[in-house]
């Protein structure tokens, strides 16, 4: 494992260097996303899967999406002022590397973290899997806020995309459309499974949401704006972005009212409530991620815009 750790560390350093020294902005972004993933891996190695998940979802996935969205809007450019190599860089970062190594050498190898504590409280948590327990019960507030982060990332992107240029071109072709038709139920199934599994084993709302989002994206690649055909109301669509967060904090407030404390559940109902939250959160995550990819077109905005122009 030491070899793997070493490689990982080198990879992180190398990617970081590449991300900052690249002359091409797009390359920088891609490398940055990869860097986020590597860091998530490092979290796993540090036996902090919750942090790893968060990092992967937010630091790499979300941030990457935002970066790309932004990149696509600005004019292609290369930053001439970036120097490929300089002595100050080399000096500083080799020093830094030495320092880091020295520091890491001090970390106790047997770090169990809070695992004992978590295990001890699993019976009251309403779910069996420790990560899920941590995410949705012990540290439910973190998760709620992360849902908010996801929502706001989309809001932010929406705010940026003021000229409403489509993010992609629908891919014409029978194959894709057929594939999408077949795939969709499967995706739904996998999503539900992941969600359910989260109670006892690694997995949960984020993963499930991500899978569902993938399905949605494929569907929308095949049929441009399927939800625009009047099949889904705009309002419902929007509600899906914030619903997960809403439900989560409402239940948290109910906890406050019932005396369990803000973001707490009565132990008896914990399992059910968590499941409810997870379902809503999954949906929210799925729609948010999908929307981020496809760039939801806001009819209202369009209408007001055309009004102004005329």
């Amino acid at each position: 494992m030491l070899v793997f750790d070493g490689l990982l560390a080198l990879l992180i350093l190398g990617l970081a260097w590449r991300a900052t020294s690249s002359r091409d902005l797009f390359e920088s972004i891609v490398v940055f996303i990869a860097l986020g993933l590597m860091i998530a891996l490092a979290w796993v190695r540090l036996s902090a899967p919750d942090a790893a998940l968060a990092e992967a979802a937010i630091g790499s996935g979300l941030a990457g999406a935002l970066l790309l969205a932004t990149w696509s809007r600005i004019e292609p450019q290369t930053d001439d002022r970036v120097r490929a190599f300089s002595w100050s860089w080399a000096l500083v970062f080799s020093g830094l590397a030495v320092g880091l190594l020295l520091a890491f050498a001090q970390i106790p190898a047997d770090g169990q973290g809070m695992m004992d504590e978590v295990q001890a409280h699993i019976p009251q948590a309403g779910v069996a899997h420790p990560v899920t327990a941590v995410l949705l019960n012990f540290r439910a507030w973190d998760t709620a806020l992360e849902l908010a982060v996801l929502a706001w990332a989309w809001f932010a992107q929406q705010a940026l995309n003021r000229d409403h240029t489509p993010r992609y071109q629908a891919l014409d072709g029978e194959v894709l459309q057929t594939f999408a038709k077949w795939l969709t139920p499967l995706v739904l199934l996998v999503g539900a499974y992941l969600l359910w599994r989260g109670a006892t084993e690694p997995g949960g709302a984020f993963q499930a949401g991500a899978v569902l989002a993938a399905g949605l994206v494929i569907y929308s690649l095949a049929y441009q704006h399927p939800w625009r055909a009047g099949r889904l109301n705009d309002w419902v669509w929007r509600l899906s972005w914030v619903g997960g967060f809403w439900l989560f904090v409402m239940i948290g407030l109910v906890g406050l009212a019932m005396g369990v404390g803000f973001m707490g559940y009565p132990p008896a109902q914990a399992g059910g409530l968590i499941l409810l939250i997870e379902i809503c959160a999954t949906l929210s995550i799925a729609f948010l991620l999908a929307a981020m990819f496809s760039g939801h077109r806001d009819t209202e905005t369009l209408a007001s815009k055309s009004n102004k122009e005329s």
């Binding site: 002022r81 970036v82 100050s88 860089w89 500083v92 830094l96 020295l102 520091a103």
Partner: protein, 565 residues
Amino acid sequence: MMDFSGMLAMIWLWPLLFALGLAWPRLRPYGIKLLPWALLPAGLLWFGFGWQLLADSSVTLKLEWPNILVGTRLNLDRLGFVWLSLSLIVWGVAALHSRWVQDVYAWRYALFFLLSLAGSLGLVVAADAVSFYLTFSLMSLAAWGLVIHERHASAQRAARWYILLAILGELWLFVGIVARAAELGTTDLSIWAQTSSAGWGLALIWLGLAVKIGVPILHIWLPLAHPAAPVPASAVLSGVMIKAGIIGWWLLLPSQAMANNEWLWLMPWLGVATMLFGGVLGLMQTDPKALLAYSSISQMGWLIWGIGWVWQSAQPEWMMLWVAAFAFHHALIKAGLFLAVGWVKFSATQARWMPWVWGMVILLALLLAGLPFSSGALLKAEMKQVSADALYQLPDSLLLAGSVITGLLMIQFVRRLARLEVQPKTLEKPALISWFSLVGLALIWPYAFMTPSWDNVLSDTQPLLIAVVFATAWRIRVNRQVHLAPGDGVVWLEAAGVKISQLKKHQAWWLKQQQYLVYWRLKSQQKLRRFSKRIYQAERFFLNWSNYVTWLGALLLLVGLSQVF
């Protein structure tokens, strides 16, 4: 008996009121005509107090206003009465003669006349140092307006020198007064008279007043100012104001406690020096008024000499009356002489009066030159006699020389006057009468309290005779006028001033410095602009991503590792 103490203030506030009245344009045309009336309270006081003084010769009028200025006191005693008398007479006659001033700015003349009149009367009654200083300055500075009145170049030049020296004297006086006041803790002159204080304070007071008196070297303003001023103004300048210095010495210096001062021996010598100095320089003048001015300096020599021995005597306040009497004598005659210049100059066409005028002129000249049985001769003889017991004596021959030179001056004066260019003006009868009265008074006043004796006739005639002989001899043998511009030393000083101001090299250097400064300022502005631009561009360094991240790493290193080592 009436209480006249309130009049002590009135005599000089009244003229000030007149002066204020002139602010009203409607009154201005009457300014000159009103002048005699400005002396009304002074006249009343003179008359009223004169009677009291006759009844009891030691009576003193007093007035105290502790809250005005830093405490104001006024008083009038015998000495003051003598001074008041001479001021009153001379100012009065001059006021009547002021009608000679007929230009558009006559009201301005009247204004300054009133102001300096107020000062002149005020300082006579001042009994505290600040009032004295106030009135003295008022008189001195206002007289500048009289000097400059005619506005021609020489008047302006005279006024310039006048004001310069007046202010210089004023400031010396001020510092001296402050020094004395601080040391004695009071401004009450009755205490000042009895208490001595630090020498340099006294010296400054002495010096400040010496300017007014016209002590040689400090005299330079005098021969310029007197000829430049209108005739009646010259009369008061020479008749009254110049004597303010003497009374100032008397009042401000510790007159009752001077006897032991070792520098007192200087005073008689200075007196004689002044007599001869004024006389000799006066002889070199062509302008009769300038000549009279030098004569005044010369006559002041007598007063300096007089006050010198008064200070030595056991009873200075009594002896001072002799000096006062001499001042009275000189005031009447010198004022008369100056007015004579006016009469000769302005009234030449009035042929009917001219013999009388010339008669008066010669009479006055003789009185000043010490005609036996006249005030001049009597007083000089008397003063010599009472000063016989003084510690510091002078050889008689020197005093004789002083008298002789006065005689010579008078001869010269009459000759010069005869050659004066005339500018006819209408005759003012009241003025003429007042002038004749003045001469008459000058002639007869000594007999009120002095009995002339025939014993000294010979010695009294001596200086006059010598003067006549010498003048005649000179006329026959040499027959040459030695010229000296009025103001003697001024000429050199002015020349020096011109030289200094013409130092081209100096000016060029100064100019260069200024140019350099401007250049330097421009240059530094340019530099600043370039610098700001550079600063602005320097931020690019931080904007550079790679630098940014380098900084980030460096800081990490710094925070992290600085603790380890």
